[in-house]
């Protein structure tokens, strides 16, 4: 049976998927620009972010209207509550993509200090986590969501590894500090993307099961 709330929910899911797609592409452009040394790729990142921000406002407004007009219960209620939060996480991911681009631009002002291997790897992982968290959301796939949550530790480890490596660079050659700092900041930005993807996955588990697994909850 088609309920009046179904159309509203479908529209919201679509908007979140568009936002998610833009987030992925923004991170891709920012990282590729960094790795290839091509600053002209960063303009696209800002354009994606503009669209993400516009959708961010629309999604919140749509959720508010659905809550007011539909009085949702049970899974519908959990879904809308989660959508409001996923919306925020996606917008923040867009911000992080812009931060990556800005830090990358800074980095590219001087010659590179090292070949970039771990950062692109981290970027891939972060993008995959974001994509899978949204896939899990669309299908309420609790297993996939749990998988994404488990991978947060991996991305944190990668960040720590990058930090340690760049520390040795900075200690061994103080002239490289500024450059190393830009890369550290980018690793931090990517770690945050991973955190936001994890948040989304935790929300999917909440939608599917009603359980709040945050902060060590089972």
């Amino acid at each position: 049976m088609d309920r009046s709330i179904d159309a509203g929910l479908a529209k919201l899911k679509e908007k979140l998927l568009v936002m998610g797609g833009h987030v992925e592409k923004a991170i891709e452009e920012a990282t590729s620009g960094l790795v290839q040394g091509k600053s002209d790729r960063f303009a696209a990142v800002h354009e994606y972010e503009t669209t993400i921000n516009q959708l961010h406002k629309e999604v919140d407004e749509d959720c508010l209207n659905l809550l007011a007009t539909q009085s949702p219960l049970a899974k519908d209620l959990r879904t809308i509550l989660a959508i409001v939060k996923i919306n925020t996480d996606l917008e923040r991911m867009g911000d992080q993509a812009v931060n990556i681009a800005l830090n990358a631009e800074e980095y590219l002002r001087a010659p590179p200090i090292k070949p970039l291997v771990d950062i692109p790897r981290m970027a891939d992982q972060a993008r995959t986590m974001a994509r899978e968290a949204l896939d899990a959301f669309v299908r309420t796939d609790v297993k996939l969501a749990a998988d994404v949550v488990a991978r947060d530790d991996e991305i944190d480890s990668l960040k720590n590894q990058i930090f340690r490596e760049l520390m040795t660079y900075m200690i061994s050659d103080p002239k490289r500090i500024e450059q190393a700092l830009s890369l550290i900041l980018i690793a931090r930005n990517l770690e945050r993307v991973g955190d936001h993807a994890t948040n989304i996955a935790e929300d999917v588990i909440f939608i599917g099961t009603g359980k709040d697994i945050r902060h060590g909850g089972a």
């Binding site: 049976m1 309920r3 709330i5 009085s71 949702p72 219960l73 049970a74 899974k75 519908d76 209620l77 959990r78 099961t209 009603g210």
Partner: protein
């Protein structure tokens, strides 16, 4: 097997193995429900699910219908109201009922309506009757509106006021339990809101069991909710749980509007 029920300590009303029939038709199937003291318990479910029939077994009104039959036990404060020697009329005094259509006695004044439970029992003490009338009308949030016209006919009040008068009438005999069958269905939104507010206050003094087809009302007003379907009680839980994370798929489908 999934437990349908949640444990209630020292229930004020405890229905066990309730089966109710209209002739050959079984309207209620094997229902166990324990009602917590000083709470509001809502019974929800689609039309014909047996919730109103079940409600009427709780104060022995069901048996007044020709051809109606009952099996099971209902314990009020530990005593089986269907036990040998129990008088149905006395039972209905201890378990008051408020109906969908407000039904103040048309030939009686507001005051007389409120105290009718006592006057019919032979109480003549004016001081006691006055004190009872004021207490009951205050508890029903009606005193301020009618204190200067207690002699006016009960039917001169608005629909919402009449319903509060009926609640006052039920409260006057200090029952441990009041049953309400869709008490706000016939009222406008503001009257409905006032009665819903009243429920929160009422439960400090009495225990309320309310049948409602309005899920938002059940969610707003009740501590626990029981979902009925085709005569069976499918799920019974704290309202906040039932309306956010229902355990049974049928409950989820009903409250999200997929049927009913």
């Amino acid at each position: 097997m999934m437990t349908k029920e949640i444990p209630v300590n020292a229930p004020v009303l405890d229905a066990r193995g309730v089966n109710a029939y209209f002739g050959g038709f079984q309207a209620v199937r094997n229902v166990d429900l324990a009602v917590e003291p000083n709470s509001v318990t809502a019974l929800i479910g689609p039309s014909g699910c047996g919730k109103s029939t079940f409600l009427r077994t709780l104060n022995r009104l069901h048996e007044e219908i020709p051809g109606a039959r009952f099996e099971g036990e209902v314990f009020l404060e530990g005593e089986n109201i269907y036990g040998r020697g129990m008088d149905p009329v006395q039972v209905r005094r201890k378990i008051g009922m408020v109906f969908q259509k407000p039904n103040p006695f048309p030939s009686l004044s507001i005051y007389e309506n409120v105290v009718v439970g006592l006057t019919l029992a032979g109480v003549r003490d004016k001081a006691l009757l006055n004190e009872t009338a004021e207490r009951a009308l205050r508890h029903a949030a009606l005193w301020e509106e009618v204190k200067d016209k207690l002699k006016a006919p009960g039917t001169s009040l608005s629909g919402g006021q009449q319903q509060r008068l009926c609640i006052a009438r039920a409260l006057a005999v200090k029952p441990p339990v009041i049953l309400m069958d869709e008490p706000t269905s016939a009222l406008d939104p503001i009257s409905t809101a006032r009665i819903e507010e009243l429920l929160g206050e009422l439960k400090k003094e009495v225990t309320v069991v309310i049948v409602t087809h309005n899920m938002q009302q059940a969610a707003r007003c009740s501590d626990r909710t029981a979902f009925f379907l085709m005569g069976e009680m499918i799920e019974y839980d704290r309202s906040t749980t039932l309306f956010t994370i229902p355990k049974d798929r049928r409950t989820e489908q009903y409250i999200t509007g997929r049927f009913g």
